[in-house]
């Protein structure tokens, strides 16, 4: 009989790890709280830098793990440590005993209503990066005007924001803003697009090319300054204020739509599990890896492994790479017992 490995979270990290564990001859069991696999990626439209359709990735991974055990709409009620493994109790009454456990619970999108000054949930035309992706995917959104003349993107919403409780950079927002700015410009060629940034952190492969494209081919305006406040004008448009830190002057502009680049915070589910089996939490609110250089996929408890954004903000390729590493890590760990 094949050995059970419980994977908490059926996003791309959990799916990729399941795929690798199947190849290695294990029986991966995915516990996913939603009614579908793929996590945040399944809600996304296209992925930078190649504009890969997000659904393709999720579909492909889904096909590759057809032999895995998958519990949808299921959460972990309790985990306790046994002498040589873990007992995982699910809310559907199923109990699984395993020697290795993979946490792949990912991130939660920062709740943009917490940045009250941006008026998400109050003003009619303020949306988030995630709302925009849903709209790209065909979901109706009355907040998006038919023919916007000016659209703004606010970087670092809830990221690099100690007051919001998040010191971390969410890594993907800069390039996502540029990607979405280009996509919006393609949909509305006459619109002027403004990106309000503090730094542009375009570290990944092809990201900088994306930035140059946005400037050169799409005429996206980049304004270095964090939006300080947004007000709704009488016609529903948004009056946005920022400091143009390059000009050293305050700047204002009236926009038809504002997109907030909500950052990543740790999924509260991970925090809950960490409490049950005494996993260390980092001061950024994510799970703490054994170390952040060589052992990102390892926890402080034997047999508990991590993959993806449960330990910090991650891109899709980083998440997939970690999931593979975690599968190998689990295999090596079990063989060493």
């Amino acid at each position: 009989m094949k050995e059970n490995i419980v994977i908490i979270g059926g996003g791309i990290a959990g799916m990729e790890a399941a795929k690798q564990l199947l190849c290695l001859g294990y029986n991966p069991i995915i516990v996913e709280q939603n009614d579908h696999l793929g996590g945040h990626v399944s809600q996304w439209h296209q992925l930078f830098p190649d504009m890969t359709p997000a659904q393709d990735l999720v579909r492909r991974l889904g096909e590759e793990i057809s032999e895995a055990n998958i519990f949808l709409e299921t959460t972990v009620s309790y985990v306790n440590k046994l002498k040589d493994g873990y007992n995982v109790m699910l809310n559907n009454g199923v109990n699984i005993v395993c020697r290795a456990l993979l946490i792949a619970s990912g991130f939660k999108l920062f709740d943009a209503t917490k940045k009250e000054e941006y008026g998400y949930g109050v003003y009619d035309r303020v949306i988030t990066n995630s709302d925009l992706e849903a709209w790209f995917n065909g979901k109706q959104d009355p907040r998006i005007p038919d023919k916007p003349a000016r659209v703004g993107f606010v970087h670092c919403v809830g990221s690099r924001d100690l007051k919001a409780g998040n010191s971390q950079c969410s890594k993907v927002c800069c390039v996502t803003a540029i990607k979405q700015a280009i996509e919006v410009k393609e949909k509305f060629p006459d619109a002027e697009i403004y990106c309000f940034y503090m730094d542009l952190r375009l570290f990944g492969k092809k990201y900088e090319d994306f930035y140059i494209n946005a400037q050169r081919d799409f005429g996206v305006h980049f304004i270095r300054g964090r939006v300080s406040e947004v007000g709704e004008a009488i016609d529903g448009r948004l009056q946005v204020k920022a400091e143009d830190t390059l000009a050293g002057k305050p700047l204002k502009v009236t926009l038809d739509m504002l997109v907030l680049m909500s950052g990543m915070v740790c999924n509260p589910q991970a925090t809950e599990i960490a409490r049950m089996i005494h996993l260390d939490m980092d001061d950024d609110g994510f799970l703490r890896s054994r170390d952040n250089v060589y052992s990102i996929i390892e926890s402080n408890r034997p047999g508990v492994f991590y993959a993806g954004a449960c330990t910090g903000t991650k891109t899709v390729p980083e998440t997939v790479a970690e999931a593979r590493a975690a599968a190998l890590g689990i295999d090596a760990y079990l063989k060493s017992l």
């Binding site: 140059i212 400037q215 050169r216 980049f222 000009a247 002057k249 204002k252 009236t254």
Partner: protein, 106 residues
């Protein structure tokens, strides 16, 4: 008008709603690479004329993007071309200044 000894102060806010970008757009037609400036400032740091005349290619581009006039700054350029050598984005800055002069001369 009554003199109160004080009056409304002029706001320093850059208002993009009313900014006239026609000059910038004309420049971009002649020098499309102007759009790729990332405001690193190497052009200004290396500028021969800048410290004495107030010329700064970085500021020229930024001011145009904000709808401000840059004629006085451009007149401070000595067209030596040192800025072309340092621009990491390969913007032909000297040509950009010449194009601006052409637009102003029209």
């Amino acid at each position: 008008m009554m003199d109160f000894g004080f009056s409304l102060s002029k706001s320093s806010t850059l208002n993009l709603d009313t900014a006239d970008l026609s000059l910038y757009k004309k420049l971009c037609e002649l020098s499309p690479d102007a759009r790729t400036c990332m405001a690193c400032g190497s052009c200004s740091a290396t500028c021969t004329a800048g410290p004495f005349s107030g010329m700064s290619v970085r500021k020229v581009i930024l001011d145009l993007q904000r709808g401000r006039d840059v004629k006085a700054m451009v007149q401070g350029c000595m067209l030596c071309g040192k800025c072309i050598m340092v621009c990491p984005r390969g913007i032909n800055t000297r040509n950009l200044i010449l194009n601006l002069c052409k637009i102003y001369d029209r």
